[in-house]
C-alpha cells in the first residue's frame, strides 16, 4: 500500500489535520489495521520536505494536531499520475507459499499436509471475510471482496499444485 500517495490523495479532496487524515485513511483504506499517528506525521513531514504539501500556520488551541496540511500543485500532479497507472501486476505473488512448497519437496517433507493446512487457513479467513461482508458497509464489502478473490486465487494454485506434487517433487529433487 502506498501510504504517502494515499494521504496525498486524501489531501487533494480537502486540506486536513493530521489526525483527520489518519481517521479517513483508517476508515476507507485500512479498517482493522490503523496507521500509527507517528507514521502519519513523519510521512507528512517528508511530503512537505519534497514540496508536495505545505503546512498551514498552527491554529489556536495549539498542539501538534492543530496544523492544517494543504496539497501543492506538484503533489496534485503526482496523485493524478499515480491514479492512472496500473499497479505492479505481481506485487501480490505469494512467494512464501511457493517457497515453502518447493523447499518442503526438496527436503523430502510433507508438502501435501502443508498445503492442506494452508487451504484450511485460507478458507477460515474467507469465512471471517464473509461475515464482514454480511454485516459491513459497502466499502468494507469491497475490501473484503478483494481479499477474498486473492485468497481464491491462492486456493486455485494450492489445488493444482496439490494435484501435481508428485511430478513437482521429481523435478526439484533432480
Amino acid at each position: 500500500m502506498n501510504v504517502p500517495l494515499t494521504l496525498l490523495g486524501l489531501l487533494e479532496r480537502q486540506s486536513s489535520h493530521g489526525y483527520d487524515l489518519k481517521r479517513d485513511y483508517d476508515t476507507y483504506f485500512s479498517p482493522g489495521k490503523p496507521l500509527l499517528l507517528g507514521q502519519v506525521y513523519s510521512t507528512l513531514g517528508r511530503l512537505a520536505r519534497d514540496g508536495k504539501v505545505v503546512v498551514g500556520a498552527a491554529e489556536p488551541g495549539a498542539g501538534p494536531d492543530r496544523k492544517r496540511y494543504v496539497i501543492t500543485e506538484r503533489g496534485a500532479t503526482e496523485v493524478e499520475v499515480w491514479l492512472t497507472e496500473p499497479v505492479e501486476t505481481e506485487q501480490h505473488l505469494q512467494t512464501e507459499l511457493f517457497t515453502k512448497v518447493v523447499l518442503a519437496l526438496m527436503l523430502g517433507r510433507d508438502a501435501s499436509a502443508y498445503l492442506d493446512l494452508q487451504r484450511t487457513a485460507h478458507v477460515a479467513r474467507m469465512r471471517e471475510l464473509t461475515e464482514i461482508k454480511r454485516t459491513g458497509l459497502l466499502i468494507d464489502k469491497l475490501l473484503a471482496d478483494h481479499s477474498m478473490f486473492r485468497l481464491e486465487a491462492d486456493l486455485r494454485w494450492i489445488d493444482v499444485t496439490q494435484a501435481r506434487l508428485g511430478a513437482l517433487a521429481e523435478e526439484v529433487r533432480k
Binding site: R119, T120, M148, E152
Partner: protein
Amino acid sequence: MTGSTTALIEARDVVLSFGQTPALRGADLSVAAGEILAVMGPSGSGKSTLLHCMAGILVPDSGEVLFDGRRVDRMREPERSELRRDRFGFVFQFGQLVPELTAEENVAMPLLLGGARRGPALAEARGWFPRLGLDGLEGRRSGELSGGQAQRVALARAMAARPDVLFADEPTGSLDSLTGEQVMELLVDAVRENGTTAVIVTHEARVAACADREVMVRDGKVTSLRLERTGP
C-alpha cells in the same frame, strides 16, 4: 460439533463403485444437527456420490449411512423415497424446475407430494417469494427466469416442506459470483432461520466460506482439517 453423539447424519466407511470405477473408498462424515457443512474437493473425487449416499438416493456397496439414528443404507426404496420427500430438501446445479409448471407450483410441489391440499400448498409456496426477493415472479415458468432467480425458486422449493436436512450440490455452479453470493446468502439465512442442517457440495471456496465447517473429499475419502492454534 464433533462426535457421533450429536450427529444427525453420518456416513461410516462408505464404499461405492460404478462398475469398475470406485467413487467412494471408505468415506466417513458426520454432520451435526443444525450444522452447515461444506463438502469440497476436486472434480471426480466423489462429492456428489457421497451426497447421494447420505441423502438415500444411492445405496453404498458397503458401510453405513445413518439419519437420526436410522440405517438409511438398509432401507428399501419406498422408505428411502419417503425419507427424501418428508425430511430432506434438494438443490442442484441446474435443471431442477419442472418447465411446465409456474414458479409457485414448482415451490408447492414437495408439499403437494407430501399430501397437502392445493390451496394451502400454493399459499405456503407464495410466502417464500418475498423472502427470497422473488416478488412478482410467482406465475413465471422456468424459461422466463434468470439463472439466479431459478436457483432461488429451487431453494424455495427445497425449503418449502421445512426439511430437516438441505442437500445442495454445486448450488451456485451455474451462476456468476455476485449472483452466486446472493443465492448463498439467502440459502444460509433460510437454513439458519429454520434450524435446518445443510450439506453443501461445492468446489468454490467462497461458497464453502458460508458454511460452519468444511471437509475435503479426495479419491473417495473424506479429510477434515482443523487449524491447531499454535504459538502465543
